[in-house]
């Protein structure tokens, strides 16, 4: 029988008992008197309370005690005493047993409903999955179920259709609504060569794409897996709660027996009074509010953040994020766009650019890409230079047009003379947060190229918001001091640590940890050690798989404001856990002495029915308070909170 049916059954049978309670003072009794009460309560005990007793007995045999133990012992005591009292012709308390069962079932019924809505985030994510896809098989487009889509399949997506799996567009363009996975509210335009994410919605165009990740490898599956793990994880604070819960129920039973003995033997109260106090203790002490305080808040908090494209991996990360004092950022790709662009060319533009492009044509350096892009835009003919030779830590040299040419960073000044005008220009460009490369031919520096990696639009806002939260911001970069400081000034970062070798990032994080817990935000492969070293590693989702693996928090969007939101949500969730625990704990600790009749001299006492109602309310208030996390306001207002995910 479901909890709901058990509740309805006991409610119907309890109603006559409730009516009788009010009519007895008027001299109106139930037909059949005490015997009717006995039969009604017996039915309630057998049908509605039966499972409590069954479970309590099963637990008892395993040397365990749980909330059912308390409910079973409390109601059975009231019931058995009333049976004895009925035969002995004394006052009976059948209604106490029946009401307590009804109220507790009512509480459990609501709790069950609320728990389901708290854990809904995962199933909503899974529901996003497309059911089938139009796949090219033997030159024909055929509709196949999602499970049969394989890596390498060419899939057609028409307007309004869901994209089945992750992949890369091969032909066509379209705008795609990715809000359900990334939390990004604006639809994005995608063309051939762009990545698409499974389970996102195609809006207006038709396109073909090649599946690159299917099944459990898709971004959505990984998100689902991460959210599942986060929701079942335990915050460290829970461990101390568990220890309390383990000894709580037996301790309560002992307190109840002591209560009865003290009232009956030492104070000389009547058997009935002593018993009612003892039963109230047992009923009010149920530790279930304590037990669900952490998990429900964790579930709602991680579920809500997942909707915004912020994946918090577990309760430990959540608790750690709450203590963070310093936020360290990697520069390239995190604070900046990560796509450097040529902004200035000093000297004879055409020559400088041509020489530079010829030198960089086969380089994989990100700055080289910027120079080549510029050369392409200016329609410069690029022919690869010959006889490449690296100038260790400074640049490269090679033969261009039969002459020795070179390109490299400002350390080349040691080898070549830089005239005063160029030197001034270089200092000026660097102070504008631009990286300057020197270009030369035949032992002469002929010009400078300034390259800039512009800060993301969201960077300045995010830094200001972090500062408003009292956090210190630090930038770690391999770039030189002047460029780094210019960027820092532009976005408002407190401290700059420049000229950091990629392998030393983790060491710098460690040094910063001496002053307090550190969060590290990064995206590259070389950020992985720093992400793991930091108390909280925040991986930008646009980053590499390994970075995502190392981070405790993963931001699906490439928006720095999400760092602020992640920290704020963690704090909110953790504070809610503490609040829940406080209420659950206060309730149990204050409730027991009141129920035991310690304050009876002041006229403050509980009867078992009120205790049962109170117990139901305490669980409900904890679950409700967790659910309210969904509604709590974020100061860093997320743009897309209302979206379904």
């Amino acid at each position: 029988m479901s909890i709901k049916n058990r509740f309805v059954f006991s409610l119907i049978l309890s109603l006559p008992l409730l009516i009788e309670m009010f009519t007895t003072p008027l001299g109106i009794m139930l037909p059949g008197g005490v015997w009717t009460m006995f039969f009604l309560t017996t039915a309630v005990m057998a049908v509605s309370a039966g499972p409590f007793i069954e479970s309590a007995w099963a637990a008892f045999r395993h040397h365990h005690a749980n909330m059912d133990t308390l409910v079973a012992i409390g109601t059975t005591t009231a019931y058995l005493y009333s049976f004895y009292a009925m035969l002995a012709g004394k006052d009976v308390f059948f209604e106490s047993a029946a009401f307590v069962v009804t109220l507790i079932l009512l509480g459990q019924y609501f709790e069950e409903k609320m728990k389901h809505s708290a854990s809904g985030a995962v199933s909503k994510l899974v529901d996003l999955q497309a059911k089938d896809a139009e796949v090219m098989r033997d030159g024909q487009l055929v509709k196949v179920p999602l499970a049969e889509v394989a890596v390498g399949d060419i899939i057609r997506v028409r307007p309004g259709q869901k994209i089945a799996v992750d992949g890369v567009i091969t032909e066509g363009t379209s705008t795609i609504d990715e809000s359900m996975v990334t939390g990004e509210s604006m639809p994005v335009t995608k063309k051939a060569g762009d990545h698409v994410i499974g389970a996102t919605m195609n809006s207006n165009g038709t396109f073909m794409f090649k599946a690159s990740k299917v099944g459990n490898d898709t971004l959505l599956s990984q998100i689902v897996e991460m959210v599942k793990k986060a929701q079942t994880s335990h915050a460290p604070i829970q461990k101390s709660v568990d220890k309390v819960a383990d000894i709580f129920v037996p301790a309560v039973l002992i307190v109840a027996i002591a209560t009865f003995t003290i009232w009956y033997v030492f104070i000389g109260a009547s058997l009935v009074t002593a018993m009612l106090f003892a039963v109230s203790v047992v009923i009010i002490a149920c530790p279930c509010a304590l037990g669900i305080a952490t998990p429900t808040a964790l579930m709602v908090g991680t579920g809500r953040s997942a909707k915004m494209g912020i994946l918090i991996k577990n309760g430990e990360v959540l608790e750690a994020a709450n203590h963070v004092k310093t936020v360290v950022f990697d520069k390239t790709g995190t604070i900046t766009e990560g796509h450097p662009q040529v902004t200035d060319i000093v000297g004879d533009e055409a020559t400088v650019l041509r020489v530079a492009a010829n030198l960089e044509v086969s380089s994989e350096h990100p700055l080289a890409a910027a120079i080549l892009d510029k050369a392409k835009a200016e329609k410069v003919d690029v022919t690869a230079a010959e006889n490449f030779q690296a100038i260790e830590g400074k640049g490269v040299q090679a033969t261009v047009d039969g002459q020795q040419a070179f390109i490299g960073n400002d350390k080349l000044i040691a080898d070549y003379k830089l005239d005063a005008t160029l030197s001034d220009r270089m200092a000026q460009l660097q102070s504008e947060a631009k990286t300057v490369v020197l270009v030369g031919i035949a032992d002469q520096i002929i010009g400078l190229i300034a390259i800039q990696d512009a800060p993301k639009a969201s960077s300045a806002g995010a830094m200001a918001a972090l500062k408003a939260r009292g956090l210190r911001t630090v930038m770690l970069t391999g770039d030189n001091q002047r460029v780094a400081e210019a960027i820092a000034a532009e976005v408002g970062i407190d401290t700059v640590i420049a000229d950091v070798l990629p392998g030393d990032k983790a060491d710098h994080v460690k040094q910063l940890q001496a002053e307090g817990p550190v969060a590290f935000v990064g995206d590259g492969i070389n950020d992985a050690p720093a992400l793991t070293t930091a108390d909280v590693g925040i991986a930008m989702g646009s980053g590499t798989d390994i970075a995502i693996e190392s981070g405790g928090i993963v931001l699906v969007k490439n928006d720095l404001m999400d760092v602020v939101r992640a920290l704020e949500l963690s704090k909110k969730t953790f504070n809610r856990i503490k609040l829940n625990l406080f209420w659950a704990f206060i309730y149990n600790t204050l409730g027991i002495p009141v129920a035991a009749g310690v304050f009876a001299v002041f006229g403050l006492a509980l009867n078992p029915e009120i205790a049962g109602l109170g117990m139901a309310l305490s669980s409900l208030s904890v679950v409700a308070s967790s659910l309210l996390l969904n509604k709590s306001k974020l100061t860093s207002t997320p743009a897309t909170d209302a979206h379904v995910a």
């Binding site: 909330m67 059912d68 793990k229 929701q231 568990d242 819960a245 037996p250």
Partner: protein
């Protein structure tokens, strides 16, 4: 006289509760039966998990078959925090949960309220 009797009974009861719930009561671990290329252990859920400790062989695909006899809503969910498993156990029905045995170690699991505990050892 009655009061003295009540007092004695109460003290005895308290002593019994303390011994029964707080005393050391050991439970034996049960090894999984390996059949062909897979292994499975049945776990009865009734006032706790029996057996509460299960030993699985590393690398062999494994399943735990839970059968919840207990009507309590306390035990209706089983949670393996390390594996990200949080499943509802239908009452009086066998419910199979696959366990990833690729990494050796001790993995605790618990009911939804984290009051009843079990353990899976993979070695």
């Amino acid at each position: 006289m009655t009061k003295i009797l009540v007092l004695i009974v109460a003290l005895l009861l308290i002593g019994f509760i303390a011994w029964w719930f707080f005393g050391k009561h050991t439970t034996a671990a049960v090894d999984a039966a390996v059949t062909g290329s897979s292994q499975d252990v049945g776990v009865e859920v009734s006032g706790g998990y029996s057996p509460s400790t299960v030993v699985l062989k590393k690398g062999v695909p494994a399943t735990l078959t839970f059968n919840r006899k207990d009507p309590s809503s306390c035990l209706e969910q089983v949670v393996f925090p390390d594996f990200g498993i949080n499943e509802f156990l239908p009452q009086n029905e066998a419910h199979v949960i696959p366990i990833d045995t690729s990494k050796p170690g001790e993995y605790d699991y618990a009911c939804g309220m984290n009051m009843f505990h079990g353990k899976v050892i993979i070695k």
